[in-house]
């Protein structure tokens, strides 16, 4: 509707209204055209802004709140890049799991109702140095990659969604990799099995189990033996 009006107005005598409509139409197009790309920028900006808010805010629980938004925006980034499994894992593990534990810790250890955390100047300098060093590492590695070479071909990039059903969508391919079968080899006779990711996964899970049992052992309520009553 806007475009028709704009086109009609441009065809007629050029006036302020026509110019406005033409401008509006071009702005609207500019906003909508890179819609998928746009969501990436929106969620990226949100993740960064919320991460900054985590650092700036001094209330522990507000920090947790901003951290939730930041991590959820990171999950949304994964979704908008069609990495649906990683996005859901991000939500489940970081937002749903780790942060609940974090809040438990904060709520059970805080002495006052709304605990404030103020960093000392020395700590801020130290944290700033570490943060800047990390930023430098990430930036240098991000710049050194030739992104144009690795960019997907346009016809592949157009596809909205995930792998094709013939490739087993997301989960099937992940499961195959997990078991050590390369999905690309399926159907050919050269398919071989490697240990896949199953072994490392099992090692990590057993490790976590050991940690859990250890934590439960350390935190258990110490039972005191009933004092032996002297009958005499």
């Amino acid at each position: 509707m806007i475009w028709t009006l704009g086109a009609a107005a441009e065809a007629g005598e050029p006036g302020l209204w026509a110019k406005f409509l033409g401008l509006l139409a071009s702005v609207v197009d500019a906003v909508a055209w890179p819609f998928h790309e746009g969501t990436v920028y929106v969620f990226g900006a949100m993740a960064v802004a919320c991460a900054i808010a985590v650092v700036v805010s001094q209330n522990v629980v507000r920090m947790a709140f901003w951290l939730i938004l930041s991590l959820a925006a990171t999950g949304a980034l994964f979704f908008s890049l069609n990495a649906d499994f990683v996005g859901a894992a991000q939500l489940l593990i970081y937002v749903g799991g780790t942060l609940v534990l974090l809040i438990f810790g904060v709520m059970l250890t805080a002495s006052g109702p709304f605990l404030q955390i103020k960093a000392k100047p020395g700590e801020m300098v130290l944290a700033g140095v570490v943060g800047m060093a990390l930023l430098g590492v990430i930036l240098s590695s991000a710049i050194s990659v030739d992104w144009d070479k690795h960019a997907p071909s346009p016809e592949k990039a157009v596809g909205i969604g995930f792998n094709s059903p013939a490739e087993g969508n997301t989960t099937r391919e992940l499961g195959m990799k997990f078991l050590g079968a390369n999905p690309k080899d399926i159907g050919s006779q050269k398919a071989t099995l490697s240990p896949g990711y199953l072994l490392p996964f099992e090692i990590v899970s057993v490790h976590l189990l050991v940690v859990l049992i250890g934590a439960a052992y350390l935190a258990r309520a110490k039972r005191q033996k009933a004092p032996v009553v002297d009958p005499t």
Binding site: A32, V61, D84, L92, A166, A191
Partner: protein
């Protein structure tokens, strides 16, 4: 036939009106319409459920419930409540953390709403057909607890804090058996996509996962118990136990923010019931063969037929969900509330081991049935009534390993082929392989094609 009905999806329909350079707008508007439709259901369902809750509570307590507002049955009672809540003053206690206090209802609301994105309403009607739909819905529903914790903490009231802590402990514990119980049918089905899960259960009643094997049957009831607890309904409503904690985590809330909590709670009741429906109760299928005889030809005829068939499917899905919601209300008004230690004991000492045993059992079930009957599923119902019904579940494709003669080259179909598994490494239950695997020797297994979900990308 009008062009509205002919368009198979809103995006396509809108794109027809715009030239190519503006087709991205069709996508945006279609996304808004999808979100609007889901939001409409998200808003209307609590309206109906709150009314239903009051009527159910009334009848169970030998009262009438609301009778006056809006006619004989008090239909408009919730609307009147809503108007009252909206015009209330937006209060924030002085002791509260103002910002967090105001934000936490939205957090609950958003988490609850996001779960509706992957509920399969009807064949092809799903907002986002994620391949990991079930995983996503479990992940997103676990975010709801964050809002409750924040609400409890930021209220600056001991009752609210107690309620929030109880809720956190309860939900964190109950998430574990909930996820394991959801895994039980998934093990047999071999997919996490809500669309595929529903497709596989089409056909006669015995195709529903709840009747698939004894483990799935028990898992349905365990899941439903755990789901009731995870949406903090009685007898597990420790977070808002009126007799102990005034109103729990929402003690300090009033007006519209209070009603956000309640909208989210009632919508979550439907969400968990919808998961149960899709996983165990056949999704949108009627189970009496209505699809094959009537609905599928109607759907294939396109246009209005497609719409009608899908509206019927959505009605079936919503009805099944509503029946489960009704059971949750029924349970709430007939069972006494558990103590907090009983709640934790129920979860950690009983429901968790039960769900683990069910999970183990369902992986061994095809082996056992194969030894006894030579088939891998109890009911070989794919050929009931002389036609192929539903899509075969993954465990039908299970083959016990047999040494292959070295000179025989297996026939490899072009579309899907078995992985060449080396001896000794074959997992007895491997849904991933089984869904793709085709056994040339078993003709009925040759129908195990890769489930086509290409129709499920952007639907209206």
């Amino acid at each position: 036939m009008s062009s509205v009905l002919a368009a198979s999806s809103i995006a396509e329909f809108l794109a027809g009106y715009l030239d190519n350079s503006h087709s991205a707008w069709a996508y945006v508007v279609a996304a808004l319409i999808h979100a609007g439709l889901v939001l409409a259901f998200f808003g209307v369902a609590p309206l109906v459920y709150i009314w239903l809750e009051r009527k159910v509570a009334g009848r169970i307590q030998d009262r009438l419930g609301p009778t006056r507002v809006g006619g004989k049955f008090g239909w408009l009672q919730t609307l009147a409540d809503g108007v009252k809540l909206i015009q209330k003053e937006d209060l924030c206690p002085g002791a509260a953390d103002q910002f967090m206090f105001r934000m936490s209802p939205y957090l609950v609301f958003v988490a609850s709403f996001a779960a509706f994105m992957v509920l399969p309403w009807a064949d092809g009607w799903i907002s986002q057909d994620l391949d990991i739909g079930l995983f996503f819905i479990l992940a997103i529903m676990s975010l709801e607890v964050m809002g409750v914790i924040f609400a409890g903490y930021s209220s600056g009231s001991k009752w609210a804090l107690f309620g929030g802590m109880r809720e956190a402990a309860q939900v964190v514990s109950y998430e574990i058996p909930m996820a394991i119980c959801a895994l039980v049918p998934v093990t047999a089905l071999g997919t996490l996509s809500m669309m595929e899960i529903s497709h596989m259960q089409a056909g006669p009643l015995l195709n529903w996962m709840v009747f698939h094997d004894p483990f799935c049957f028990v898992a349905f009831f365990v899941y439903f118990t755990v789901a009731t607890a995870s949406v903090k309904r009685a007898p597990f409503d420790l977070a808002e136990a009126e007799s102990e904690l005034v109103a729990g985590f929402h003690t300090e809330y009033s007006g519209i923010r209070w009603s956000y909590f309640f909208m989210a709670e009632y919508a979550s009741m439907f969400a968990v019931s919808g998961i149960a429906t899709a996983l165990f109760l056949g999704g949108w299928s009627t189970g009496i063969g209505l699809e094959e005889s009537f609905l599928n030809p109607l759907r294939a005829s396109g246009g209005p037929g497609y719409l009608l068939a899908n509206i019927f499917g959505a009605a079936v899905f919503i009805s099944k969900g509503c029946i489960l919601v009704f059971v949750q209300m029924w349970v709430r008004w007939t069972l006494p509330r558990l103590r907090i230690d009983q709640v934790m004991t129920t979860c950690l000492k009983y429901l968790l081991p039960i769900s683990c045993a069910l999970f183990l059992g369902v992986t061994l079930w095809p082996l056992l049935v194969f030894k006894l009957t030579g088939r891998t599923t109890l009911v070989d119902s794919m050929n009931v009534m002389g036609s192929d019904l539903g899509k075969p579940t993954a465990d039908r494709g299970y083959r016990p390993w047999t040494p292959r003669p070295t000179n025989e080259i297996p026939q490899v179909p072009a579309t899907a082929a078995p992985i060449d598994v080396e001896p000794g490494q074959a997992e007895p239950e491997k849904p991933v392989e089984a869904a793709n695997g085709v056994d040339a020797k078993r003709p009925e297994a040759a129908r195990l094609d890769v489930v086509d979900v290409s129709e499920g990308k952007v639907q209206s």
